[in-house]
Structures are given as structure tokens and as C-alpha cells.
Amino acid sequence: MSTIQWSDGRPLPSARMQKLAPVLALLIALFVPSICVQAKDTQTFADDDPVLQAMRAELERSKSALKVEGMAAPYYIDYHVTDMDTHSAEAAFGALRTNVRMRFRFLRVVVRVGDYKQDSFFGQGQGGLDFMPLDNDIVALRHEIWLATDSAYKAATEALTAKQAKLKQFTVDQPVDDFAHAEPIVSIGPVAKLDFDSQPWLKMLQDSSALYKTDSQIESFDSSLNFAAVTRYFVSSEGAVVRSGQNVYDLRIAGTTQASDGMRLDRSHSYAVTDIKELPSEEKLLADAPKMLATLKQLRDAPIADEEYRGPVLFSADAASAVFSDLVGENVLGLKPDLGQPARTKGAFATSYKSRVLPDFLSVVDDPTLASTNGRSLMGKYDVDDEGVKAMSVSVIENGKLMNYLIGREPIRDFPVSNGHGRARLPQNNPGPSLGNMIVRSSETSSPEELKKKLIEICQQRELPYGYYVETLGPQHVPRLIYKVWAKDGHEELVRGAIFGDLDTRTLRNDLIAAWNDVNVENHPLNIPHSVINPSILFDELEVKRANANKDKLPDYPAPALGSK
């Protein structure tokens, strides 16, 4: 619509949220040590923290008095506050493009009406998000909580009625409770601080991105950092009081180029850690970046993959990480199906409880209590989840059989209580089942040499001239570095433009024949920080096809000459 609008008013919260969304999407981290006690003398812990004081004061008031005549009083209330201090910066072509330090505080209030069996957590009754004052004025903090609680309660009463009306449309054979009971936890960890000197890091971004000059056919080469300190506060009417601090440091480099036929090629690498000391030094980054740039050149010169290949494929642990993360990690989450649906969970493993989902030599555990492995810090470490439940290790898949789902406080059939995996996306989505540290282990292990030997043997048995070795994957499981391994002499040849035809849960269950227990740790800082630890894997048969991708024309004229003005 063509309108002219005058406004001197402040933008609506929703509009402000949209503006911030790209930045918020970058934030994450890890829990620092905390004190865990049973919920009794919580006052002692909360007294010196104005945010917790404000939360507790309003919680007490709401618990005792919040009620509209003729409507049910809340049976459960919780408050989450997320305090984020973030620094993000990006450099390209040797110069900074963005450099932003931001601080936010968000509040999410959930008020539940009804009871644990059936409550108002539905539609508008799932709580709302508001900004919180950044200073520690207790009255101002309480004022924001007061209004948010009021809205949440009113929305909850309406939502319960709407939910009950909707449920009347369905026959529910095996009702599952809406909300699980949980032991209230008191755990007060330190507040996270983002305390670092940005100048050396900004210089590092500029210096590394300046390496584009070493190859005239590099079209983009960016270096970026996203550092964040996140402190989460949680109180519930059941008595939980939790404060936990997390830090995340993510340093990335990414480059793109085009092959002579126009095929777009990209590479990227992320150093995601929870301790800034684990990040590479400038020397290390300036040594790693040229290696990545070299692979872009190699890819430009590499032949295109054959139209179709069906045979053994070996995945490095790095490449296998995305496969396990997406095909296993996403499907072991015990997500309650939509209202009226009889399934146990959503996802590909919804009907697979106690069935085989992986080969019997593989087992999967999710252990958020693990802080590090093989000297690498793990981003999926936490003490208490975002629903105030103590983190616990869960044996998800035992010898190939799915034995448990990861769940939060929204029960699913056969899983009535949380196993400490209810976590919320930043800044403050509703908590739901999420990965912590997913560890894939193999009971039968082969060395990398044996795996490669096996790959070649299978090729020879089936009279295939070569098999494939995948070193890294990009988004959507598109191989970035994939090699033909020639059966005749074992030499490797890089190819480009390959995609997988049938890489899914079925092939993972039926065609995976061997693994090596090397430990690849992949820290995922985005959305909900988690880690995936897994071995290299060998598929007996997998389809590798030539990608049907557009081949964009190369730039009409070359890059500006270095030194030109």
C-alpha cells in the first residue's frame, strides 16, 4: 500500500525484535561451574542479585494474588531472563565491514492454568517475550515482569479454553500429561562476562581476509567473529532458582570462487569454542587460511563428478558429524506431536522406539554433563536445563536400538518425566528437547587405513573403478571436499559438483558397515549450543550424483589489479 506515515513514537517490541533477529541468531555458549543445592534456602543465593531479587519478588506476588474472578488461578509460573553481551565483527578484502557490540536483556514469562495433566500451554498461552531494563533497578525490573505476567496469565486462561475446545474434535486413546513434575533445583552459577581486548581480534580479521590478494580468482574471502556472554536466570513457582553463565567464541573464515565453467565453489571453517584461549593465534589463523584458499584453487581445477555413482563411500569424522547431527540428532528429540495426533513424537524416529535405527555396532549417548573431551571444550555442557531440570546423561541408542528420546518437561508417550534436555533457542524461545553433547561410539573399530582398504576391497569386488572419500560437507550435506579413491592404486582425486542421492535414515541404518573411533568434536554455537562427537564411517553403498546446479557466468572482467586506485 502506498501510504505516507508520520511517526515519532518508538517502534513496537515486535518490530524491534525483527531488527535484532540477525544479531541474536549469532549468540551462544557454555555453562561455567555452579553451585547446585536442593530448593530450600534460596533466599541466601538470590539476595545479592537484583535480577533474581526482582524475579522472585514478582513471582511471590503473582503466586499469591494473581487471579481473575471466575477464572482459574495459575498452577505454575516461571520467569526466564536472558542477559546477552555480544560482539560481532566481520572483515572482507582486508577491511572491516561490521563491528558491533550489543547488550540485551530479555524476559519470557510462562503462566500455566489448569493442571499438570491438561493446561494452557497452547497457542498464545505459551508465554511472551519482552525487553528487560539493562540496569539493575529492581522496581523497573519488577514493573516489566508485572506487566508480562499479567499478559501471560490472561493469554493462558484464553488458551486453555481454546485448547479444550480443539481437543473435543479428537479421540485421544492414550492421553499424555501436558507438563511433567520436576524436582525444583537451586543452582547459582557466576554471571558471564565478555571481557576481551577487541583490537587484536579485529586486526586478525583484517589480516586474514586480506589473503584474498593471493589468488586473483577468489571472489570473496571473509573473516568474522561472534563472541557472546550469556547469563540466564530462571525462577519457577515450584521453587527453582537458577543462574548460569555461558560464553561462546566463534571465529570463522569463508571463501568463494568460480570454476572456469561457472560452477560456484565455497569453503568455510569455524573455530567455535567456549574459552577464548582455545581460539587460534593470529599466526595459526594466517597459516590455516591459505590452506583453505588452496583448496578453493584445487576445486576450481578439479574435474566434475560423474553423473551417477553407486558404491562404497567413506566419510571422515568431520563429514560424518553433519550426517549424525541431522539424521540422528534431529530425530531423537522427543517432540510432542501436534494436538490430537497419536504419534509418540515428531520426526523420522517417531515409530522407532526400541527398534533398530543404526547398525548394531553404533551407540549414541547425549551427555550434557561433559565439559570437554580429548582436550576440546564442549559447547553442549550445562548443569541445569532451561526448564530448571538437572542435566543428565541419556543413553539414546544402544547397539543400534533406539532406547530413549531426549525430552524436556513436555512428556511424550512412555516418557513421563524430563531427562534434562529442555533447552531454549536464544534469545528466548520456549524450551524444548534439544541436543547437549551427542556422542556416537562404535563397538567395532577399524583404523583409517583399514577403512580405506575396505573401501578399495569393496570397489574391487564390485568391479568399480573407484570409491568416494568425503572429507567435509557444506550445508544440506553437499560435499565440499570429496575425492575419488581409485581402486587400482588407492590414489585420491578431488572432484567437484557431487551430491548425495539417498543419504537418509534408511541408508544410515542399513548401509553403514564400519566406523573408526577417531574423535571429531564439532561445536555448534548457533541456536542452541551443542556438540557432536562421532567417528569416521564407511557406507557399503551410497548414491553420489552430479549436482544439477546453475553454472553462473564468470564476472565479465577481472578483479581490480592490486595496487590500482
Binding site: S2, T3, I4, W6, S7, R61, V139, R142, W146, D150
Partner: protein
């Protein structure tokens, strides 16, 4: 997309009266028309106008401080929920006279080419006639509990029954 946009819109008048006399001019007009009261728009929060060919070429202004001015000497009465509506030609032709003092409105203006900073400068204006309508508003119940800090003492300040 770049389009032609307002920059500093400056309205000047050749028929002015002292600002101190404007109120009396309004009362004179109310009496002349035999109306029970007139309206004084002290402040607005913004407004919009439809400019597409297929739409009615109308505008709406969203006042925030509106007073009823009575011709019989009663004090002015603050009212709420009033919007000004109309079409530009009909409305602008009803300006009887203006004050002398020019005031500046700085704001953001949104249109086809996005939101841009603009200014408008104009004197106070007396309209012989302007159309107003009741503003749509919610009937949401006020907060159930009084604001923090106002409940323990039993004071009425901010407390909402």
C-alpha cells in the same frame, strides 16, 4: 527505489492573527456556527494518507491531546479517542486563518522509498470545520495486580481494583 519525497515542508500564511487571539477567534467561530463546543488539537502522534490511485485520497491524523473548548467560559475539557479524518482539498479549504508563530515537526516519513527523516513547519491554524471520528480501541482489562511497590501500603496510587 528512490522516489520524490518531502524534505522540509514550510507553510507560510498571509492571513495571520496574533497567537494570543487565536483562542478568541475559535470561540467566535463556535458561537457563529451555534455549536456547543469547538476542539483544540494540542499535539498529534502522527498520521497517514492514502496516495494510490485506486484508493480514496483521504488522510487520518492521530491526535493525542485534544481539548473541548466551550464558548460559555467553562474551562477546557481534555477528551480522548479522537481521530481527524478527511480529504486534503476539502480540509485545507476550511482554514480560516493562522497564528504567527511557526513550529517545527521533525519526524520519520514512510512511503514507497522507505522511511526518511522529514520536517514540516507551520503556524497554528483555525479551521471552520473539520471531521473527527471515534478511534477504535481495545477494551482490554487493566492489569489485575497493582504495580510493584504500590500494593503493600494500600495507597491508591497506581492500584487497580
Amino acid at each position: 527505489m528512490v522516489t520524490g519525497r518531502q524534505g522540509n515542508l514550510i507553510v507560510t500564511s498571509s492571513r495571520t492573527t496574533k497567537d494570543s487571539e487565536l483562542r478568541q477567534k475559535l470561540i467566535d467561530e463556535i458561537k457563529k456556527q451555534g455549536k456547543p463546543y469547538g476542539l483544540y488539537f494540542e499535539d498529534i502522534q502522527g498520521g497517514f494518507t492514502l496516495t494510490q490511485r485506486a484508493m480514496p485520497q483521504s488522510f487520518q491524523v492521530l491526535p493525542v491531546m485534544v481539548w473541548r473548548v466551550y464558548p460559555d467560559g467553562r474551562p477546557d475539557e481534555l477528551v480522548r479517542g479522537v481521530d481527524i479524518v478527511g480529504t486534503p482539498l476539502a480540509a485545507m479549504n476550511r482554514i480560516v486563518l493562522t497564528g504567527e508563530k511557526v513550529e517545527v515537526f521533525n519526524g520519520m516519513c514512510g512511503a514507497e522509498s522507505g522511511s526518511v527523516p522529514v520536517s514540516a513547519a507551520a503556524p497554528a491554524m483555525l479551521f471552520s470545520e473539520i471531521e473527527v471520528q471515534k478511534r477504535a480501541h481495545s477494551l482490554n482489562r487493566p492489569p489485575i495486580l497493582p504495580p510493584p511497590g504500590f500494593d503493600a501500603t494500600g495507597t491508591k496510587a497506581g492500584g487497580r481494583p
